[in-house]
Amino acid sequence: MTLTLTLTVNGERREVPLDDARPTLLDVLRERIGLTGTKKGCDRGQCGACTVLVDGRRMNACLTLAMSVDGAEITTIEGLAENGALHPVQAAFVENDAFQCGFCTPGQIMSAVGLIAEGEAGDDPERIREGMSGNLCRCAAYPGIAKAVADAQKRLADNERKSA
């Protein structure tokens, strides 16, 4: 059985031959495509370290069978920075010391990008904390994460206003 999985990952179209229907999106990204920025912390959708954007929506890549998103557009942590410049969420994470070991960070950042785009949290710190609570951080960089998301939300809103 040979399957061909077609994905657009960070704007690049990829055809991945699969001899197996079992791989998750996470394992395809990490082990077959070689984009290892997305992390596996639990493989059960409990920690959020594998969060990526699938057609713009944040999803746990470990709970997603790769074949089930055939044809989708995937954005991973490697696809956020543009022309060597950090995405505003990435920059805000650095400036607010929103991580320590860095292992959960790609998932946190993808989740933050999704949360801000969804517009549900706005600049309300409590809703930001709630909206980011699907992403575990064992170093407990939570105060910095909450500040970074609020900070990035404001920067992105300002950018939008300027370009409008």
Binding site: D20, T36, K39, I77, V94, C101, G102, T105, A146
Partner: protein, 750 residues
């Protein structure tokens, strides 16, 4: 806040790099996914290993369906006790202080649930996973013992890593007899698991007799020697790469069985092999904080002064190895008392061996002690902060030695002010918020030793005036790559953007252990010494060169700053490093340094970091749901190299305190000995919404004795004090004193 701190004589003067709250040097790597953790490695020809874990806790394996596993497409090999290649070292040998007995398929015995019983190696992760499932182990099972009550009690020879199991000072019984008030109380703490977000992982590759391992490791030189001894090769034949660790917390300081199995798998197949634990497998062979039951007796006179303090702890360990959480020792150095006693007993059960987990002993011991102290304050009718001040230790209560520095009084004062402690009602159940929730305030004293270990470093000044520092230091989130580079830049007298800093690899000079909150102090001292050594050589050349503006100054008569040497007595006379080296025709000047504590200072002083933590909790009066609405900690830990990173370490530790107080616990099924909550759905750690307001204040402290840098450590202290502060706040909010951690809603409902 790049203010220059003044230090007493004996301190080295650091340059413009240390002390600044710069952002992490590895920040861009970590936010772009470019930081490489062990499991991110994919060498050519990589195979995947997955092990089958025992589902019983005691007995032996009687059957494995190896044929079914081997028949699965993609499976390359199955390793069992029958065909496991020999090891040069017995996995059950205790070779040194930091060696744990581990399981590497040496026999068919099962000694705890989750023990590896066979390994499947395959061309894909999916095939290896399915192959391991197909093994379907059968067992001859015996009834396991799982808890403090059914376990087997024994008198330990040591607790923690080599610490005495008991300590006595003065006459505790007489002190209690003479006391005006006595408190006798008991607290239990559960088994907790490190659960770094990065699961244990290893990629092993052999080239002839040379082994390369990508593995997260907190003690690189020790691990390299251990891996070498298991495989009968010289240590220089092992390359261990650990550039980034996705959280360690102690669990990645100790070798474990799955690592050995992966290296064996690579040897068996002749190909590189990757083995990554599942989250469920993290509850077994990779250590945990052992459960304790602690009994305290406190006597006070009519004025509130301690007359005696006794702390007994039963600590759980495995059937086959000893690591006892040294919980009672947390009472030794904190409150002034004429009489004290700490005693540990051990309890054996069919569990994986515990190990050091962030503040081992200090965290669990502090939790019980700080609660017991609050009970004593309540018996006296004294404010709990006032009670701690009455019993403030001006010298180390255990040894009588002076403290090298102790700004705890300032921590109490600044923390209390920031929190707004004044006016706290003495009685419980006096405060409510707008929503009608019960509000309580609690305090706890934080304390952690300021140890140093041994480290070496190499520093180089290059002809272009840039610098290189090499040390096998460990970046595990604490910020070593940043803080140590700040020290390195100051040691070489250059700006940090002119510094190349190499770490995390066994080919580099031994950076010692990243543990015990002693890494910055130890590795930092070695790095600074190496830089100073290189600069001394550079200064020798310059001051002996007649053409140099520095001629005749003598190497002690120059100051290194910003890539130039200046005459100390006339700063208008200076020369750049590159000019000095160009004139001497040198491409590089190399210095070496070591870091270790001055033995005389170690003999003369007691050395600790201190702090005070204030907690506010809100409790729903109907549902008894508990929220930690505010935490304020004030900490004094010597010189702070990077305030931004130190605050993150401290607040992270405080949030661990929230987990300890309210969430974390592994529950074993007494029938099977298996964890019933062995994943992140069941084993709760704090999430973002659990920590709405957590603040760490840094209280300045000049310590000329800990080391020339004046650095203590901040990695573990945050969890101490915090657990007690939260439990005390819960008592203050509700009037209920809960004797078991974590504090469950059920305990408040009664």
């Amino acid at each position: 806040m790049a203010e220059t701190l003044q230090f007493p004589t004996g301190h080295v003067r650091l340059g413009s790099n240390a002390g600044q709250p710069i952002t992490r040097r590895d920040g861009a790597l970590k936010v772009t996914g470019a930081a490489t953790y062990a499991a991110d490695n994919r060498p050519d020809g990589l195979l995947y290993a997955v092990y089958a874990a025992s589902s019983i806790a005691r007995g032996r394996v009687t059957h494995l369906d190896v044929a079914a596993a081997k028949a699965h497409p993609g499976v390359v090999e199955v390793m069992t006790t029958a065909n496991r290649p020999p090891l040069a070292r017995d996995p059950d040998a205790k070779v040194h202080m930091f060696s744990w007995r581990l399981e590497a398929l040496q026999d068919d015995r099962v000694r705890y649930a989750g023990q590896p019983v066979a390994v499947v190696i395959a061309s894909t992760l999916e095939a290896a996973t399915e192959g391991a499932r197909l093994l379907a182990p059968r067992y001859e099972s015996e009834a396991p013992r799982t808890g403090l009550d059914d376990g087997e009690a024994f008198a330990p020879e040591a607790v923690g890593v080599g610490a005495p199991p008991s300590f006595d000072k003065g006459d505790v019984e007489a002190g209690l007899e003479a006391a005006a008030h006595r408190v006798e109380t008991q607290y239990e703490t559960p088994a907790q698991y490190h659960n770094a977000l990065e699961p244990h992982a290893i990629v092993a590759a052999w080239e002839g007799d040379h082994l390369t391992v990508d593995v997260p490791n907190q003690a690189i030189a020790i691990a390299r020697n251990d891996f070498a001894s298991f495989f009968g090769i010289p240590p220089e034949n092992v390359t261990l790469r650990s550039p980034f660790i996705g959280g360690g917390f102690g669990s990645k300081a100790i070798l474990n069985g799955p690592q050995i199995l992966c290296i064996l798998a690579a040897r068996m197949t002749g190909q590189p092999v990757k083995l990554v634990l599942t989250r469920q497998q993290m509850f077994g062979p990779v250590g945990h904080r052992g459960a304790t039951r602690q009994a305290l007796r406190i006597g006070t006179d009519a004025d509130g002064r301690l007359t005696a303090l006794e702390h007994r702890a039963s600590a759980m360990t495995s059937r086959f190895d000893d690591f006892l959480e040294p919980a009672a020792n947390a009472s030794q150095n904190i409150y002034a008392t004429p009489a004290m006693r700490q005693i540990h007993t051990g309890v054996r059960a069919d569990i994986g061996t515990p190990g050091p987990m962030r503040a081992p002993g200090e965290a669990s011991g502090s939790a019980a002690l700080e609660c017991a102290m609050d009970e004593a304050a309540e018996a006296l009718g004294i404010d709990p902060l006032e009670f701690r001040l009455i019993n403030y230790a001006e010298t180390d209560p255990a040894s009588g030695k002076p403290f090298s520095s102790k700004a705890l009084r300032q921590c109490y004062a600044e923390g209390a002010k920031r929190f707004g402690w004044a006016g706290r009602p003495l009685a419980p159940r006096q405060m409510r918020d707008d929503a009608g929730h019960l509000v309580g305030w609690g305090v706890g004293t934080a304390m952690f030793p300021a140890p140093m270990f041994q480290a070496k470093a190499r520093a180089v000044v290059r002809e272009d005036g840039s610098g290189l520092v090499e040390i096998s230091a460990v970046e595990m989130g604490q910020g070593a790559l940043t803080a140590l580079a700040q020290i390195a830049a100051d040691g070489l007298g250059i700006d940090q953007d002119r510094l190349e800093f190499r770490a995390g690899n066994s080919e580099l000079p031994d950076g010692g252990v990243a543990g015990g909150s002693g890494h910055t102090a130890t590795a930092g001292s070695a790095i600074f010494a190496a830089g100073s050594d290189a600069i001394r050589k550079l200064a020798d050349i310059a001051t002996e060169d007649e053409a140099s503006p520095l001629f005749g100054a003598g190497n002690a008569g120059v100051v290194a700053r910003g890539g130039r040497l200046y005459r100390a007595d006339d700063e208008t006379r200076s020369a750049s490093y590159s000019d000095i080296m160009a004139r001497a025709g040198l491409a590089e000047i190399e210095g070496e340094g070591t870091g270790a504590r001055n033995p005389a200072n170690a003999e003369d002083y007691a050395m600790f970091s201190h702090g005070a933590v204030f907690a506010e909790v809100k409790v729903d009066p109907e549902l008894c749901q508990i929220r930690v609405s505010r935490l304020v900690g004030a900490f004094a830990a010597g010189r702070i190299i990077n305030p931004r990173l130190a605050e993150s370490q401290l607040t992270g530790g405080m949030i661990w305190g929230i987990g300890f107080a309210l969430h974390e616990e592994t529950v074993l099924d007494p029938r099977t000995g298996r964890p019933v909550n062995g994943d992140f759905a069941g084993y709760h750690i704090p999430v973002n919404a659990d920590a709405p307001s957590v603040e760490a204040l840094l209280v300045g402290e000049d310590d000329p004795y800990v080391n020339a840098l004046g650095v203590k450590g901040v990695g573990e202290i945050g969890i101490t004090g915090t657990v007690g502060a939260i439990a005390n706040a819960v008592r203050h909010a509700t009037g209920v004193r809960v004797g078991r951690f974590p504090i469950h809603i059920g305990a408040l409902l009664g």
